[in-house]
Symmetry: C2
């Protein structure tokens, strides 16, 4: 059984859509946010807690799992779902972006990308074929092609090279892809060049992927450029396939990207902010390390009904943060993920009710 996607409702005023993915491990209502489970765990959370928060799909990082504990042992454990005790859908990236982030430690050729492990400095080669093989062993429902990420700023030469290389790799990934229970997504590249992006879309669409990721954005460029590129890229993609904007973003980024027609998101922000003592609230961000919260006996967010906000005060969470207590990270991570999942649920509801544009107008376009 493979993954299917249906658009359930379209917003009449924007490009936003309400959809549903059906995967071998269950359904995903879109627009959806995927918490990031880099090392086979969404940091500080159990799968039960993620489910309780309304999470329907997680992201796993092939690069990290390949290096530690290794994809073979995860395969022997029954795959990533069973290894980490998450029964719902999983998307794995290909490692392309993770390796791009290594900067000086990598070398890209037509064959693939050679890189040094951030853990022990050992040398490895990722090829389109090898990342498909690794993702087959992990067994996620949605898997990604290897791509060459050019970054920002980016010369026309490098932009062109990375786009065509990513396309060639996408063809090789498609040829290597075997497991019918895994849906392989193509990744649009083309840096910040309209022609390159549209060529990337057209050629990937010829390969007829069941879904498309938009890569190479949020790599340091001004937000105005992100939105410009996203607008013409997303609207060029086939309407009946899911669109995944990789690594984005803040809540207001997500709202705007939904407006432009994106269905799937992942970002480390809610979990990372939780570990650094920051709560996302309806009143803005709170840095719990600030002294002003030491005697504040109100919840993190009075408008939130999550476990953290029902039972704990800002003073208590601040105390835990100051004392480096794990429960502080847990309570903040849980709350921040609740904040994201509630946002996604509201976006879905407004798309169903035909009130999306009005709702989204509360969120200024991030600059």
């Amino acid at each position: 059984m493979s993954t299917t996607f249906a658009v359930l409702a379209m917003d009449p005023l924007t490009g936003a859509r309400r959809g549903r993915l059906r995967t071998p491990h269950g359904e995903v209502d879109t627009p959806a946010f995927m918490p990031v489970g880099t090392q086979g765990t969404v940091k500080a959370m159990t799968p039960e807690e993620l489910r309780e928060l309304g999470t329907q799909i997680l992201l796993g990082n092939t690069y990290h799992l390949y290096l530690r504990p290794g994809v073979e042992i995860i395969h022997r454990a029954g795959g990533l779902h069973q290894f980490m005790h998450w029964e719902g859908p999983i998307l794995t990236d290909s490692g392309g972006f993770q390796v791009y982030s290594l900067q000086a430690l990598r070398q890209v050729t037509e064959e693939g990308v050679t890189f040094q492990s951030h853990l022990d400095g050992s040398t490895h080669l990722f090829t389109p074929e090898s990342v498909i093989a690794a993702q087959e062993l992990l067994g996620a429902d949605l898997i990604m092609c290897l791509d060459d990420v050019p970054g920002y700023p980016c010369s026309p030469k490098r932009a062109k090279e990375a786009m065509w290389r990513s396309l060639a790799w996408a063809e090789r990934c498609r040829a290597a892809h075997r497991r019918e229970d895994q849906a392989l997504f193509g990744i649009v590249q083309g840096a910040f060049d309209r022609d390159l992006r549209l060529t990337s879309v057209a050629r990937l669409v010829e390969l007829d992927f069941p879904g498309y990721a938009i890569g190479g954005l949020s790599v340091g460029e001004p937000k105005a450029i992100t939105w410009e590129v996203l607008a013409y890229t997303a609207s060029a993609l086939p309407a009946d396939r899911p669109r995944y904007l990789m690594g984005v973003g803040w809540p207001e980024d997500i709202v705007h990207a939904v407006r432009l027609g994106v269905d799937l998101f992942d970002c480390v922000l809610p979990t990372r902010l939780g570990r650094t003592g920051t709560a996302l609230t309806s009143q803005g961000r709170l840095n719990l390390r600030q002294a002003q919260y030491a005697e504040d006996l109100t919840p993190l967010d009075p408008a939130c009904d999550c476990y953290t906000c029902r039972y704990y005060t800002r003073a208590y969470v601040r105390h835990l943060v100051k004392a480096n207590e794990i429960l502080g990270v847990r309570l903040l991570t849980y709350h921040n993920l609740a904040f994201y999942q509630r946002l996604m649920h509201r976006l879905q509801q407004h798309l169903e009710a035909g009130t999306f544009a009005e709702f989204a107008a509360q969120f200024p376009v991030p600059e």
Copy 2:
């Protein structure tokens, strides 16, 4: 409403008892193990998880809470129960042992003990009156007298001084104690001297405390001495009052102390071992950092039915430990606390069934 204690069953062959404490925040079946919530949280656990594990009572440390976040803010939050969202019974220590552990940073006089904060080096004075006041603001169900802990080895002069000073402080604590919903326990001192210990017991019993703690043990002395002192001290205490052996210990220590008539225990071991990658199991201790567990797809303890053992493998927990993932600490802490609480439950059941001595015989007396 104050705390009452009833002995429900006595083992015919040993000093072991099955009892029940009734406190303003609920009942505690004894022998009971109290997980340690040093800084207003049992490290890495939520109150709901502790309850799920069968925990009926927690311990809080007055010294730590006094320094951070301060007892005043906890009082304004509604007391420690509400601050940390634990609705069950709590016992707070007096800070005597914590300050003793500071070693060079403290100075003991008849008035009290002056010490420097381990957090910022600031100077503080604990007196019998001030620790009662602090514990009244915290609002625990069971509270402790300030005591002078002599350590090991210990000269006859120091043993005598510490015992008589602890007695004088116990009288002052009793005089300062006001809240009827808090049961104040006396603490037996006397180092490793039978006469001093029995004098301490006799004088404390004259003060008629609703419960008695046995202090000054497990401070570095050989186990044979611990058991010798515990045997004559516990058996000298009134049979109708709960007996609390402070800071003990490993599972086999607890079994032997129950044999000698102890009802209440606290220890950081299950939580601390969880944070350092060690699991307590029916097959002994596992250090998950060892390479032999990298491909071990069995549960931590095949004889355990806790959440961790139901859903996760040794290979996964080891991966989390190696990757410094918080979930690794959570799963190990949860499992280790399950191990302790299951032991306490079995001790209670065997005491009820009259089969305690047989059950306890499986645990060799720790040397």
